[in-house]
Amino acid sequence: MPIPRFFRSCNRAFAWVHLRLVLDSIPHIFLLLFLASSLATSGQAQPGPPSEPQVNAEKFTVSGSVENAVTGEPIRRALVMANGYPQRSCFSDDSGQFEFEGVARGQYQITAQKPNFRSEQELPGHVPPQLVEITANTSGILVKLTPQSTIRGRVTDAAGNPLEHVPMRLTALSLRDGRKRYDQGGFAQSGEDGRFRFGNLAPGTYYVSAGPLTPQPANYLISSNQPRTGYPYVYFPAASDLASAAPIRVAPGQNAEADFTLNQAPVYNVSGTVAGYGPEAGVGFTLLSASGDSLQVPMPFHPESGKLQLLGLPAGQYILKAHSQATREVALDAEIQISVTSNLEGVHIILGPAITIPVAVRMESSNPQSAPAGLPDASSAPPVQIRLLATKQGANDAYSALERTTPPYSIVVRNLEPGRYIAEVTSQGTWYVQSATYQQTNLLAEDLTLSSTGEVHPIEIVLRDDGATLTGTVNTPKGAPASGTLLFFSDQNPARPPKRAPYYPSRGIGGTLETGFEVNGLAPGEYTIIAVDQPDSIEYINPEALRPYLAHASHVTLAAKQKAKVSLELTRTSEVSQ
């Protein structure tokens, strides 16, 4: 029987992650046991070869329709795909109907595409596509597509005259790594009639800002000494920063309006010098508003003399960032705050190497026999990854990297900007993170604060391999997706990124769908565990936001090497009211 591609790929990825770790660190007997148990828990039957000929196989007709998820109207000319082996495709007709003839028995994912529409997989939440088991002629398959949304509006001056060439920015609110992030969602420019438009948007929460704009001069003599005027940047509807801006919530298919009235204000020029970059290297500059949105103003720079100008800035607080490259690996950067109240001269910005933090990993094995495989000088790199999640809007996250990819391994986190970070330390395989510290800071419980002037110390991590193992099942209501994510919140360290583990569907006796999991390498301690379908839709860093999701949580206390079992209820994130 051909295996649907979705199942195959998931299972493969699952096995691969474990295999790699296991091969590196565990005697082979464990490997075999593990593989066996992994297959047993997932209950996946051995897939037949995908290229198995389908000669004389029974053929069926599969039909259905594509409709607008908001209006229920049929969608014509949608490309409908039946993803199995092979992939089939056709277009829906004028009444939204589609039909595949000669479809072989098997499981198929039925999806549809159409410009200006999003499938459920493309919407935030990324619902997996529906799986259809074809064992007979099948009709009435419904594929829903969500229409795109737009935000549009008009920019005028105080007298109501349209303003042209106003730079417009779209900021999209998203949840990532359990926290709110404000992402650059697009740029536009107002046209001759002052109109602008951001199209093809997913439903969600957005912010729109306009300006700054310094129009070509008019009605004054160049020799005059008056400050010039322009239009400061404004967040919709008339806020000076993101925090006080009005969010624009866009429903599927909605055309939201955001009109701006810009008032003239004096604008100023800032000049200064840049130093600390190589003669051959270029320097890039980013001007950010105090809210971390990048602004477009002319910034002429002469690399030979190091002279930099920022032209036409309205009064306000800004962050100017400079970036260059000392070598291929070593980035140079600098960041200064600029407070503009008049023309400003003599600003100095000196580039220096970005902060690089070494990571020292100690691996403590509970089993002396496995020590050779577990020590840092062994033939595999330490199974740990660090992500430093910037808490400031506009700052970049940083990731650990192997500096030496052959023994002795060394791990570093490169190109960090000064600021405050949430550390997410992930270990692999049977190893768990016993501790992660930066000087006195416990990174498993507290934020890491880096200053531009401070001395750099290593992040010290201790990994152990006597973790607990938790097995269990997730009870999934009918109609809910059969795979999802387990989130393990440490009760000792609240408001930190949880450990994540996936769970997958398995076919139980009699063909009923069950889900099971086995998570090993859990640090001893107390946990609050939830099983969710869309982990990325939870702002879990915020205890207030997390609380409603904990109604079906399980609490476990795990000791070293303990094997425990737990049964969980699926929490459908879309059903949690906040």
Binding site: Q54, S89, E192
Partner: protein, 572 residues
């Protein structure tokens, strides 16, 4: 007066932006002795014939690179600049709905305002042509919008005294297939659209194995329905540029040009490369080429269709997928990583192909590109001014240009970018006082300032530049009265062959003009009134005017001052 509008605008913007407290600008601030001159007039809309209020009007002295002075018109459209010193000024106005325009602007030229004793600079009427706009919707054959289609706007204009169609603007359709191009100057336009069907996917017959015959046929049929491309399509829906309908945009006008794209089966081009020699034990590797696939439209202009690295289907074969049927010039330039294969610069090749279906091309059999290197010598003993100098090879027909910097020994080489065979003009840039008058070449035929590069040619050329420092000043008159706004052309003996000798100007408000950087020799100066549509670059068109023009013998380094009779367009 030659206008250099863009430069002036930039200069103005830069000066104003960078120096808010500009030091007392000597050229703009008249000396006390010269006080009293004024530049005044009215800005009027060309179509409405009504005064334009709130127009931004600037004057810039032509003699000194001085900052502009800007003011705004009142409700009556009037402007007055006081205390202007004697001289000539470019007058430029812009307003809402009107792009910046000089006084009586035509192409690169405008009429400068002359200020001085007995000159009237106070009754100027500056007629602004309102901007036009062109918009439309691009849909497919199923009446569905084509998003992100590239809409090219071509404009018919006068270039070197002949009508030519060149790209004027380019933009993308939005997600509903709409495009809108604002601030178009009135004129004749063409619209061309290129796009890829959103559902297109190149068919790979090897993707599914082991299918039964019936399923294989179905899968192939479905895949072929998606292996499609849109041909480059001209408004109102033709694939051949010669059938494109011209769009006449009137001042202030708005034109809607909807275009329907029709998907056709896409072709795949397979380019076979000979395997390079390799040492024992060395891995098989194949040269990498940068491909450029263009379509020839509008009398030879090469419009880029596909660009980038091809995908390697198997060793020694590059595949270019999703090509709509049509005529193409395919051009492959070896990249720098090829040196290890022993591929010399110049190993690039090109081929003109007519694609009707899948095609195999043999790289080894295609015509080779050429390379060129050489030297620039300056006739006479005087050395050119210091500064960066470039040699530019321009293909008049296709618009292709290659340029190379001339080093301080006078040497240049265009090696890495192999040159497609054809006829090129050698132009010198960065040295305004010199023009290339003579070429001598090994490996190519030369004639005057042009060079013919044949397939595979490795050309060495010596370009002889001669001084062009003479100047002709003059006045356009009719019945002894100065005529402003006339087109002035310095016509050499052979207007086509000696193109580098041609000079142009437009007479200013006092009828005067200046033709700088003239090469000594025999010429005719003609002044034509309202001859903006004349294709005077064609010998037969200019001949009757030349007969009535003013012959001049320009001595070396000479300065002439002449009078030229104004001729009306339509002389036979």
């Amino acid at each position: 007066m030659r206008r250099h509008l863009l430069f002036l605008l930039l200069l103005t913007a830069t000066l104003q932006a960078q120096q808010p407290a500009f030091p007392s600008a000597p050229a703009a601030q008249p000396s006390p002795a010269a006080r009293g001159y004024r530049i005044a007039g009215t800005v009027i809309g060309l179509v409405s014939s009504q005064p334009v209020a709130d127009a931004s009007v600037s004057i810039t002295a032509t003699a000194n690179p001085a900052p502009s002075i800007t003011m705004q018109t009142g409700p009556d459209g009037r402007f007055v600049f006081l205390n202007v010193s004697r001289g000539k000024y470019l007058l430029i106005a812009k307003a809402k709905g009107y792009s910046p325009q000089g006084l009586d602007e035509h192409g690169d030229y405008a009429t400068a305002v002359a200020v001085g004793p007995e000159l009237d600079a106070e009754h100027i009427v500056l007629r602004l042509r309102p901007d036009a706009a062109i918009e439309g919707r691009v849909t497919d054959e199923h009446n569905e919008p084509v998003a992100n289609a590239s809409v090219q706007l071509f404009r018919k204009g006068m270039y070197r005294g002949a009508a030519k169609i060149v790209v004027a603007n380019q933009m993308q359709t939005d997600e509903d297939g709409y495009y809108h191009i604002e601030h178009c100057s009135p004129g004749t336009y063409y619209v061309a659209v290129s796009a890829r069907p959103w559902y297109a996917q190149n068919y790979d017959p090897a993707a599914w194995k082991g299918l039964d015959a019936e399923t294989a046929v179905r899968v192939a049929q479905e895949a072929k329905a998606r292996d499609v491309a849109y041909p480059l399509t001209f408004y109102p829906g033709v694939e051949d540029s010669s059938g494109a309908t011209p769009i006449n945009l009137h001042p202030g006008g708005q034109f809607t040009a909807d275009v329907v794209m029709r998907a056709v089966p896409a072709a795949r081009l397979r380019i076979h490369f000979p395997e390079p020699e390799r040492k024992e034990g060395e891995a098989r590797s194949y040269p990498m080429f940068f491909q450029r696939i263009s379509q020839r439209i509008f009398d030879g202009y090469l419009d880029q269709a596909i660009q980038g690295q091809g995908t390697s289907a198997q060793p020694g074969v590059l595949e270019i997928l999703g090509v709509a049927p049509g005529d193409y010039v395919i051009q492959m330039e070896p990249n720098r990583f090829n040196e290890k294969f022993g591929i010399k610069p110049g190993a690039g090749w090109y081929e003109e192909i007519n694609v009707v279906g899948d095609m195999d091309l043999q790289a080894a059999e295609a015509p080779r590109m050429g390379t060129i290197s050489g030297a620039v010598t300056y006739e006479g003993s005087s050395a050119p001014a210091p500064g960066r100098t470039f040699i530019e090879l321009a293909n008049r027909e296709s618009g292709e240009r290659w340029s190379s910097e001339v080093d301080d020994k006078g040497l240049f080489g265009i090696k890495d970018n192999a040159i497609r065979p054809g006829t090129y003009e050698a132009l010198l840039s960065g040295q305004t006082g010199y023009v290339i008058r003579k070429l001598s070449a090994r490996g190519a035929k030369v004639s005057g300032g042009t060079i013919v590069i044949t397939p595979g040619a490795s050309v060495q050329v010596v370009c002889t530049a001669i001084r062009a420092t003479a100047q002709i000043d003059g006045t356009v008159v009719r019945d002894d009265n100065p005529v402003s706004g006339a087109m002035v052309v310095l016509v050499p003996q052979d207007v086509v062959e000696d193109w580098v000798l041609v000079r142009r100007d437009q007479s200013d408000s006092d009828g005067t003009f200046t033709l700088p950087n003239v090469v000594p020799g025999q010429y005719t100066v003609v002044a034509i009134v309202d001859g903006w549509d004349l294709e005077w670059g064609k010998p037969s068109v200019i001949a009757p005017y030349r007969k009535r023009g003013t012959p001049v013998q320009v001595p070396s380094d000479g300065k002439l001052n002449i009078k030229v009779q104004a001729l009306s367009a339509g002389v036979r």
